[in-house]
Symmetry: C2
């Protein structure tokens, strides 16, 4: 894909998203020894980058498909992003959520007009619930990370980033389901000759690192990490892109994630969620790598429970 | 004073400060029923507006005065602002701090090259310690809020704000020592025909409201407020300006301050300190007043102890 194609996607979703700012900090440059540029998707609508993929996926549907509505299963940011995008575009949204999902997340989905179907917590139960909604309504299924139009929606983070900061040498991106890093890697391929894309993952859920090294999608047996957005695994649509375009995936420990999160709160004076802090922690750990040229860091979201902070 | 004078001050301090951004939020507009514009001094260097006054005060000294150094007494943001400004300008700074000041604040002053003199916690002890430093070093005394050049430094918040947002109908400003609101009121007089300046104060330390109503500077017997930057009282340099140019000072309760602080953290995804939240709380309380035209709100700083949050 060439630049024009990505710019067209960006133009298409622009009425429904924020073009997020890039922040810098002399103090964080001193601490890291690098030249760090933070892409603030925590300032994105509903507080996370997921709006981009959800908006692009719904916009890519035909009029007939839109009239049937969309269905997704998510207990997190993608549920809200889908409901909010549907509300903005006049498309009915069915959100399958586990019955143990926090009330505050269900309320947020309802506030955006999403129709919730509760299900048991297992993957089989979720998938059955989605199938059930499709049977009853004919709704189109959206996947939070493993769908081409979602990946292309996420590519617009890169489109903006390359426009905002010249000569990025590398971009560090948190890896959960793989939809964000795949999108940004596609944009990097189109917009830069030299920019490397590097994944950031908690050591406690290092499925993507293992997948990349073993050449086959791996899953986590356990995923006891504070970075709750990164507990999922890669999919067959994004993994080939990641294999082809992502240079490396680097892991960090839980205490490094918390230190990085606190540092951003204290120094940049902005709220980021633990999943975003994973990318910051990688930049702080890889001091030698970030010393050369400009480093972009994607702060993927800012939705945290202020009543349950790790510091 | 005319616009040119204020613009010259702004130009003079610009190499030493950040021109801070203005943020808006559809959700906060919905909640308040107003059109709110947040001036983010929490993103100012060292995390609070105090850099502006400290920088302008030191820049206004003669070469001889600069060579003698400056002295101030503060345990808060002005101590750091003075030390940092001095470091940037090559001027020695003597900071008188109470011996019960938190270690983290002393360390921050030291990191900026400030020379600390510890003293007892009473006002008499502080003043004696400052006199002592002046006797020994010939240093020039700086006051955090009650000095013309500090007030004029703070006026640059207004200079930027009027440049960034057209047709502000009112600006809500937290009131502690009175140096910030006096500076912004002077800028409003020069740059706007119609903009009102409104003070925001905790009910638990409502000295400025009482001062304005009684026409004479009042002090607080007690000041048990979470807004620790607003416990001080007005001074003879800023009070006449406040009397002449500030329309009203409105108070809010402690629970309103905490709710407003949490709302900004959750919705704008930025860190503000309780003193800044006082202005937000006033905007949320005065729904009728903010319904008409654009309201500016000065988020004065973002220096909080993350280990000791009220929620």
């Amino acid at each position: 894909m060439n630049e024009e194609k990505f710019l067209a996607i960006h133009n298409r979703i622009l009425p429904f998203i924020h073009e997020t700012p890039v922040m810098t900090s002399r103090l964080l440059n001193e601490i890291s020894g690098g030249d760090l540029h933070f892409k603030c998707e925590n300032f994105q609508r509903m507080g996370a980058f997921k709006m981009r993929g959800a908006a692009n996926a719904i916009l890519s549907l035909s009029i007939d498909e839109k009239s049937r509505g969309v269905v997704t299963h998510s207990s997190g940011n993608f549920a809200q992003a889908t409901a909010f995008s549907g509300q903005l575009m006049g498309v009915t949204t069915y959100i399958v959520m586990p019955n143990n999902a926090p009330l505050v997340k269900k309320d947020a989905v309802k506030a955006y007009g999403g129709i919730i179907t509760e299900c048991g917590p297992s993957i089989a139960q979720r998938e059955a619930a989605v199938e059930d909604v499709i049977m009853q309504t004919g709704a189109i299924s959206l996947h939070p990370s493993n769908q081409d139009e979602v990946i292309l929606g996420n590519s617009t983070i890169g489109v903006e980033f390359f426009n905002q900061v010249s000569d990025l040498q590398r971009i560090i991106v948190p890896v959960g389901g793989g939809g964000m890093i795949a999108g940004i890697a596609l944009a990097a391929e189109a917009f830069s000759e030299t920019c490397e894309v590097i994944g950031a993952e908690p050591a406690a859920a290092a499925d993507a690192q293992r997948s990349l090294r073993e050449g086959k999608i791996q899953k986590n047996d356990t995923a006891n990490t504070i970075a709750d957005g990164l507990r999922t695994h890669l999919g067959d649509r994004n993994f080939p892109i990641i294999q082809r375009l992502v240079k490396d995936i680097i892991t960090v420990e839980e205490d490094e994630i918390i230190i990085a999160m606190k540092l951003i709160w204290e120094r940049l004076k902005i709220i980021i969620e633990p999943s975003a802090a994973v990318a910051v922690a990688v930049a702080l750990k890889e001091k030698k790598a970030v010393r050369k040229g400009k480093t972009g860091i994607v702060l993927s979201g800012g939705n945290v429970d202020l009543g349950n902070l790790p510091f």
